[in-house]
């Protein structure tokens, strides 16, 4: 197990370098950041030269990248052109997005697996068909449409939950954005769980468990669900990254000042360090989630052993 984790961590290094370098190159292709800093005014040549020297902008791109990564490992994400440290921006934005993702993930897991189990156990019945149709409709409607409609109905018309979040992030205000963010993934989880549960409910080990007289809830939870969850866990792990990326849209609809907001500002102001810093942290989270998924395999399925 230990050597497997080590091998996977080593494999992650080229992927990490590749993804961050790609983003680094693209962000620098946005244009000259010094010109963007001065907007419509022409920058004073001396000031511009000083800024260029201060941020290593005269070096070739690969050297800038190496210097940047070197600082990154000392937990120094650099500063924006306005002097704010990127670390402070990260500290301001990430907790908000993490809270939103956590709310969405909880909703996704509970309702996705619950609905999938319900529908898989009653394959072909009314509950099954309604879950199938409902999830198909949810998948087809783009998130931003669901977002605006729910915001208007639940937040404005009925006034049940707060319609926007703003600076004061409370759990209550995150429920509606959480539902919107989770909706599409929830539908996928429900459909995936349904398929595997329906497949496994005919398996020999389930028949054996029933035959030896186990109570129904033990058969379903310990035998059927545990074996059916393996593909679902894979999906949930890779979906974590998609949720944080998808938060860009949800944050925009509900006025949440999280990663999406900060990234958007960074791109508009061409603040290289902000964009690269935020994306790098997201990629690290994404890669670690994938590793965690592979390790969870072994916990869920004792047949899989990592040498």
């Amino acid at each position: 197990m230990g050597s497997y984790v080590l091998r996977r961590l080593l494999q992650m290094i080229p992927v990490f370098i590749g993804s961050t370098f790609l983003i680094f190159v693209m962000v620098h292709a946005l244009g000259d950041p010094v010109n963007a800093l001065f907007g419509d005014r022409a920058p004073d040549p001396a000031v511009a030269a000083q800024i260029r020297a201060q941020y290593n902008l005269n070096d070739p791109l690969w050297k800038q990248y190496v210097l940047y990564m070197g600082r990154l490992f000392r937990w120094d994400f650099g500063t924006t052109f306005t002097g704010q440290t990127v670390t402070s921006q990260l500290a301001a934005a990430y907790p908000t997005t993490l809270k939103l993702t956590a709310v969405a993930f909880t909703i996704e897991v509970i309702f996705g697996i619950g609905l999938g189990l319900l529908s898989g156990l009653r394959r072909g019945r009314l509950a099954d068909s309604s879950v199938l149709i409902l999830t198909l409709v949810v998948i087809s409607i783009p998130v931003f449409v669901t977002g605006y409609v729910l915001q208007y109905l639940v937040g404005v018309r009925w006034g049940v939950l707060p319609a926007t979040v703003g600076f004061d992030v409370t759990l209550r205000s995150l429920i509606l954005p959480g539902i919107v963010l989770a909706s599409v993934s929830l539908a996928y989880v429900a459909r995936l769980t349904r398929t595997t549960v329906a497949e496994n409910s005919r398996a020999d080990f389930v028949r054996t468990a029933v035959a030896k007289g186990l109570p129904r809830h033990r058969v379903v939870v310990n035998h059927l669900l545990r074996n059916s969850l393996i593909p679902v866990v894979t999906f949930l792990g890779t979906d974590l990254g998609a949720l944080m990326g998808g938060a860009l849209v949800t944050e925009r609809i509900f006025n949440i000042h999280g990663v999406g907001y900060a990234l958007y500002q960074g791109i508009v102001r061409q603040s290289t360090n902000t964009v690269v810093g935020f994306v790098t942290v997201l990629i690290i989270i994404f890669l670690l989630a994938n590793l965690l998924v592979d390790l969870l395999y072994a916990v869920l399925d004792p047949r899989i052993r990592y040498a």
Binding site: V15, M26, P142, G245, I304
Partner: protein, 342 residues
């Protein structure tokens, strides 16, 4: 008997895009299945093999290929019929929008700004006073072009690279898999926000290229898994023993047996790519006016949703129905091509 078929037939989706360990267990399972199979099902297994021209004239029972079987299934599947009729209709609208409306979507009258549905203008007007019905009809072209072209591109790149990785193994596999991991490591909306804000003049083709660049790894993984499963089969060993070249093995024996899961995933991806284009346009990094697109219209309408909901709901409805049609088609094709579900 039908139950046995479910377990015994080789499953083209098995092990698609999984780790080696599982692949091994999938292969073991198949061998176990083969061991317990009756003679009859062996013939069925062979049916998956690629020899449509093989049966001689005196043979009475012509074995049906996987594709013929799937087509028989699809013809009677109401979901397939409904979704494909819908898609044919949408494609026709995309090619000949003037068939559906004589109003020019760019011919706007500010005095009619945000007016609700009236006679002759069933969907009302948007903020600029343009006819929402005409814009919805003309918007089909951008969405469907992006969806179809991006899917074809991603499927081609993904199949070729995934196939090469799966067939040759060793270093081509390592290189292609790591490159795929790099693109997989970038969340797609995030990548869109960064990559597409670089390019100022955006045509449809830039958005298509972006989706292909970030979309191919998904299909390459599926293709790689399917090729690895297919190349272990006996008919491949037999063909190799008869002296078939690598090209012949790949194109005549492995590709026809590995392409089913790719087609399934690509069809479903088509729907999601259409939604992705709209989302990118909504974020302001996708298509730009004067291109008429559902995403642009929904984005523009979102500011005054509570005042004039019709501006958002009609293009959103059209978008959702299009995505739904392609996802339903993908579902139906998967049910037909995946013998495990039969």
């Amino acid at each position: 008997m039908p139950d046995q078929e479910k377990y015994n037939e080789a499953d083209p989706m098995a092990g698609a895009g999984t780790e080696e360990e599982e692949m091994q267990s999938a292969i073991e399972n198949r061998q176990f299945d083969l061991g317990t199979m009756e003679g009859e099902t062996l013939v069925k297994g062979e049916r998956l093999a690629d020899h449509p021209e093989a049966p001689s004239a005196d043979e009475r029972v012509v074995p049906r290929s996987l594709w013929q079987d799937a087509w028989r299934d699809l013809r009677t599947n109401p979901i397939f019929i409904v979704s494909s009729l819908l898609i044919v209709f949408l494609v026709l609208v995309a090619i000949f929008p003037s068939m559906m409306t004589s109003t020019n979507p760019l011919n706007c009258d500010l005095s009619k700004s945000q007016l609700g549905p009236t006679g002759g203008h069933p969907f009302g007007f948007d903020t600029q006073g343009c006819d929402v019905y005409a814009r919805t009809v003309y918007g089909a072209r951008a969405s469907i072009t992006v969806g179809v072209c991006a899917t074809v591109g991603a499927a081609l790149v993904g199949t070729v690279l995934g196939g090469v990785a799966g067939f040759f193994g060793r270093w081509p596999d390592s290189v292609i898999s790591r490159v795929a991991d790099i693109f997989f490591g970038i969340p797609i909306l995030l990548g869109g926000l960064v990559f597409l804000s670089v390019i100022k003049n955006k045509s449809i083709w830039i958005v298509v290229a972006f989706i292909v660049v970030l979309g191919w790894p998904q299909l390459a993984r599926i293709g790689r898994g399917a090729v690895i499963t297919a190349k272990e089969q006996d008919y491949v060993t037999a063909a190799r023993a008869l002296g078939a070249s690598n090209n012949r093995l790949m194109l005549r024996h492995i590709l026809p047996n590995a392409v089913a899961p790719i087609i399934v995933v690509a069809t479903i991806a088509l729907g999601t790519y259409i939604a992705l284009e709209a989302t990118l346009s909504y974020l302001g990094v996708g298509l730009r006016p004067p291109t008429v697109s559902w995403g642009i219209d929904i984005s523009a309408a979102s500011d005054s949703f509570s005042v004039a909901p019709h501006m958002l709901l009609f293009p959103a409805g059209a978008l959702s129905i299009t995505v739904l049609a392609f996802i339903m088609l993908g579902d139906a094709v998967r049910d037909a091509l995946d013998p495990k579900l039969r």
